[in-house]
């Protein structure tokens, strides 16, 4: 037995865990769930909800003059059980410790705690957004009573309080777990929440003169075990049990935050962060989370457009592909340039590379998109796949040749431009004057946009939620993007547009899915050789060494090292 591993008996079975493991984590690793409300692995453990009470025992200490107990044939000492329970979340394991998560004492503790929590809890599950994913509901099914013994009047507290621009608070539903308070204090560094008053009149409030307006405030609604804090954006939109959840990644910046997209009947209703301790821990910024409403909006491009006599007309997708290929044949290969987007997947970039090869084009680049890092999760690089452009397109400094390209267009050296998934007029990367000298412009973009107005052929390009693929984040982690919903109308993913364009220009290529392209990636690009799509998994894999770190993740690692949080 290694010195750092301790023997612990959980529900009669002996296990080994490293020294310093919390009892609740030991139980979780042994496959036993201890119900809890206030405990969160990424936050400090105040131990105030008392739901995780378990029975604990240690080997008996010999009386003076008494011989120590004899270990049994496996080397375990007998356990003498304590008459009173302990909380599993804030206590660490000890050598030869016994934990009982079932049995009369534990069960009666849980029933007692549930009864107290439900005494003042309103019976408004039918209107509560948390219903269906509420810990209080789940544990009251397991440990609650069918009827209430509480004959007194329930305590009245503030309801429907606007604590911030994106968060609504219902104090009657609050069970005082203090997760939100600890999150705002320890992770978001904006301690605006707190408890006031005492006993059963305790209420969660915002500090006077302040608002819960931090860019990470919606995480408090995620970690709230009940429906006390709810998101204004998701309020009354859809019940939790109707939605299909897709694990994918956020594309608002280079961090590539792991997210879950919840959709029903092709419509996205909310985006929530998904745990990945190497990327975003359990959190995500509100600005990224709420940036999805345009996906279901009326300003989506749904049909390909072809310019005839100065006006756009709707066309069939096939016709748009053939028109584009025919027009491109009229130009010399030195007169064509390709601009792809840093929001495209590795697969799509490979298809762009193949198109470049088919057309024998020299110029290919992405439009750089930079902002300020917020020192938490938002990266300076607002393109989610700049590292993919470096790796797949072989660009040393992505975006460096855009200015030279502008000059080439002005000098009429470049006459045709293929511009994928970008709207540079709105972003400010190009002006209308910059694009005017072009004889032929083909674009794809999810939304109707000013650049598309100038284009000769416009494809409705699928957005990030409507396609699958892989991306490499700023730290060099290869992560999977999964399709959550179908695009409207004749929307096509950029890889499909590129594949069909290559086919129209140079013949069949036998690619039917983005997984096919990934296989091609492993053959074409040395970085990817030997990889399998299945190997990437939901959490991604370390892929490139970029030396970039994420501030929030680094701070969390430091807290884990100090033992302040569990962190798993």
């Amino acid at each position: 037995m290694s010195e750092d591993l301790l023997d612990v008996q959980i529900d009669g079975v002996w296990h080994q865990f490293p020294k310093g493991t919390r009892m609740i984590e030991a139980c979780r690793q042994a496959g036993v769930e201890v119900p809890h409300y206030c405990y969160h692995p990424k936050l400090s453990s105040p131990g105030n909800c008392r739901m995780c009470l378990v029975q604990m025992g240690m080997p008996p200490r010999p009386m003076p003059g008494q011989d120590p107990a004899e270990p049994d044939e496996d080397g375990h000492l007998p356990i003498s059980w304590m008459p009173r329970p302990v909380i599993a979340c804030a206590n660490t394991i000890g050598p030869n410790m016994g934990i009982r998560t079932t049995g009369e004492l534990t069960e009666s503790c849980r029933e007692g705690v549930m009864e107290f929590l439900l005494a003042n809890h309103p019976l408004d599950c039918p209107i509560c957004d948390q219903a269906g994913e509420c810990s209080l509901q789940e544990f009251s099914v397991e440990h609650g009573k069918g009827s209430s013994r509480f004959r007194e009047r329930k305590v009245k507290k503030p309801k429907n309080v606007k604590v911030g621009p994106r968060i609504r608070l219902d104090d009657e539903r609050c069970i005082m777990c203090s997760r939100c308070i600890r999150f705002m204090d320890e992770v978001a560094d904006d301690p605006v929440l707190g408890f006031t008053d005492r006993g059963s009149h305790t209420v969660l409030t915002v500090h006077p003169g302040h608002e819960l307006d931090n860019n990470y405030s919606l995480n408090t609604a995620d970690i709230c075990p009940v429906g006390a804090l709810t998101s204004n954006d998701f309020r009354f939109q859809m019940r939790a049990w109707f939605m299909k959840e897709t694990k994918t990644i956020d594309t608002n910046c280079g961090t590539g935050i792991n997210i879950t997209v919840s959709a029903r009947q092709g419509e996205i209703y909310r985006i929530t962060p998904r745990q990945n301790n190497d990327v975003n821990s359990d959190w995500m910024p509100d600005s990224h989370r709420l940036n999805y409403h345009w996906i279901n909006s009326d300003i989506r491009l749904t049909e390909p457009l072809i310019k005839d006599g100065g006006r756009h007309r709707m066309a069939k997708y096939q016709e748009a592909i053939i028109t584009t290929a025919d027009k491109l044949r009229n130009f010399d290969h030195s007169e064509i340039a390709i601009i792809v987007s840093g929001r495209m997947t590795n697969e799509e970039m490979l298809m762009a590379r193949l198109l470049k090869r088919t057309l024998n084009v020299k110029d290919i680049d992405i439009i750089p998109r930079r902002g300020e890092s917020d020192n938490y999760l938002i990266s300076e690089d607002r393109n989610p796949n700049t590292n993919g452009a470096k790796s797949v397109l072989g660009l040393k400094d992505p975006g460096a040749s855009i200015d030279a390209l502008k000059k080439d267009i002005a000098n009429r050296k470049i006459k045709a431009l293929i511009l994928l998934q970008e709207d540079p007029l709105t972003d400010g990367a190009f002006s209308a004057e910059d694009l005017k000298p072009l004889e032929f412009l083909v674009t794809s973009y999810p939304l109707a946009n000013p650049t598309a107005d100038l284009a000769d052929v416009v494809f409705p390009g699928a957005c990030w939620a409507e396609k699958s693929g892989t991306m490499i984040n700023v730290t060099g982690r290869l992560q999977k993007l999964n399709k959550a919903v179908d695009g409207p109308g004749q929307t096509m993913a950029p890889w499909e547009i590129l594949r069909d364009l290559i086919q129209a220009l140079g013949g069949g290529n036998g690619i039917y899915s983005s997984a096919d392209i990934f296989n091609l990636l492993t053959k074409e690009i040395s970085d990817f050789s030997g990889l399998k799509l299945e190997d990437i998994g939901d959490q991604g894999i370390p892929f490139l060494d970029t030396g970039v770190t994420l501030p929030l993740v680094e701070r969390e690692k430091a807290r884990i090292a100090k033992g302040e949080i569990v962190g798993v």
């Binding site: 019976l123 408004d124 599950c125 039918p126 209107i127 219903a131 009047r153 309801k159 429907n160 309020r235 009354f236 939109q237 019940r239 049990w241 109707f242």
Partner: protein, 176 residues
């Protein structure tokens, strides 16, 4: 386990079958005469005559939404009926009750509530699952329309059919 059924042993006149046929014809003829002479009535002249008064209390007709004595629409758009509905006939869009409304404390109500009566199978699960006593199966059985759109009962129509229901649990009322 197999059960052996004993074949009855028929008498010789029973084996002829003729007496049986005659007996059957005699019963038919007696009914024929009774109906012809107006002694007995077996056909209801629907739709001039209706069987509404014969319907049992547990009859399951069209589902409808109800209001209560306080004129509050009881549905809070929890969408449990939409979830349980086996033929997926129910579609609900919830909305927030504006803060100046008398019942603002209920917070949530249906913005639209559609039941597709072509799909509805009158199973009554919506009534059974409703935590707010808001949806009931009424005795309306003649649901007709000339188009598919007409066969969809919207929120207005559902409240028309449902009307006011008294004596329900009023859990949203203020304590005195």
């Amino acid at each position: 386990m197999a059960i052996i059924v004993k074949r009855p042993k028929l008498k010789w006149w029973e084996q002829l079958y003729l007496p049986g046929i005659v007996k059957g014809l005699a019963i038919t003829a007696s009914h024929f005469v009774a109906t012809l002479t107006g002694k007995k009535k077996v056909t209801m002249q629907y739709p001039e005559e209706k069987w509404d008064s014969h319907l049992p209390d547990h009859y399951r007709g069209a589902p409808a939404l109800v209001t209560d004595e306080q004129e509050r629409e009881r549905c809070v758009a929890c969408q449990l009926c939409e979830f349980i509905c086996p033929p997926r006939a129910i579609t609900i869009k919830p909305e927030e009750i504006p803060s100046d409304d008398k019942w603002a404390k209920v917070e949530k109500r249906p913005k639209s509530f559609d039941i597709d009566m072509i799909r509805c199978i009158y199973c009554g699960l919506c009534e059974e699952v409703c935590p707010e006593q808001a949806i009931f199966l009424r005795k309306d059985y003649a649901i007709t329309g000339t188009s598919r759109e007409e066969m969809v009962h919207d929120k207005k129509r559902l409240y028309e059919i449902g009307g006011v229901r008294e004596g329900l649990v009023n859990k949203w009322n203020e304590l005195k």
